[in-house]
Symmetry: C2
Subunit: 212 residues, 2 copies
């Protein structure tokens, strides 16, 4: 069930992409429509959940992009368990997308040239303020105010800091719940892999209407 | 590290409660301020994440209440792994609370009288529309439109349906991130248990300012 950027099959937009694009468009007046909550599993087998900013889709891919600080707990967690579930609730249209799949991380020492180009591009797209956060002292360490640790630094807007990471969620299942329906509408999309489905235009995805 | 309703110690409001109460008050114009995302771990060890409605605190307790359908996957998951992390993002004030702890479920056959009273009260507080959802056919099963499965039923507003469950999150750690600061402010609260701290008014909780 491998797929993604290094796959030689022609890229097909997953059927849930049009639904998600519509939700992003209809909720565009709400800044929080660009955020979702990402759940992972810690090395102790406990759930972790945090708000993450959507950084667009990887090119010619259904992978959802985020950025993270390499000094956070997240990287160690993902090596032990790459699974994640994003829960994306759109307040204006009252829709929820749950996207389940594997996370991959592009760190400063990732060997692929294209991956490094993508990582640099993600850095360049950040606001100045967002870039500064990667220069702040160790996340979650006890706060010290000596020496102005949060003073604004003169950062290169082209070349990312070493601890800046690009993260991608490669969905294998998507649950779309529309609360406005009466009853509510819910569609479940499951990736079945290429095989027979290829060429049918669904990119290997099944879609089924389920009870809310 | 046991605590909660059956504890004989006098109840002390956890120090993060005033912060959360303030956030709820300041964001009260936003209906979504009553929702949060709850992450759990499935029996396969994968993260699950969904939007849940806040149903208040259990009486004389720091436990956060929710309701769920006993026919969902959640109950089986919780028996295998009771850990959960709620991620509660307040859009108006740009604050995030992450609340980590154990979930407990009060089903129709829970033996304690007080617990059943609480479960009934939670049912009575639901809107008519929310109650109807517990009468709908099996959640996430393939949708059938034969026989008007979603027709409005005449439900008892006093006595809950058997599949109606009250769920409680008993936090052991809370991470409060305030994005409006420059730099952002982050406080980490950790429950240390009763012991020495008792009588100091913090209910056994440590609070520490950490880097965002």
């Amino acid at each position: 069930m491998t797929k993604g950027m290094t796959d030689s099959r022609p890229f097909v937009l997953a059927p849930w992409r049009s639904q998600l694009a519509r939700a992003l468009h209809r909720n565009r007046s709400k800044p929080e429509s660009r955020y979702f909550q990402l759940a992972t599993v810690t090395t102790e087998g406990r759930p972790a959940n945090s708000t993450v900013v959507f950084r667009g889709f990887a090119e010619a891919s259904n992978q959802i992009q985020m950025v993270t600080d390499g000094r956070s707990d997240k990287l160690g967690q993902l090596q032990a368990n790459p699974w994640a579930e994003a829960c994306w609730y759109f307040t204006q249209t009252r829709e929820q997308f749950r996207l389940t799949g594997h996370l991959s991380v592009i760190t400063a020492d990732h060997p692929e040239v294209q991956a490094q180009d993508d990582r640099r591009l993600a850095w360049q797209k950040l606001s100045d303020g967002a870039r500064q956060q990667f220069h702040w002292p160790q996340p979650k360490a006890k706060r010290q105010e000596d020496g102005e640790p949060f003073a604004v630094a003169d950062l290169d807007p082209v070349q990312p800091l070493d601890n800046f990471c690009l993260v991608r969620l490669d969905p294998l299942a998507v649950d779309h719940l529309d609360l406005r329906g009466d009853p509510q509408n819910r569609t479940r999309y499951v990736y079945q892999g290429p095989g027979q489905e290829q060429g049918q235009g669904d990119g290997g995805w099944d879609a089924i209407a389920v009870n809310p």
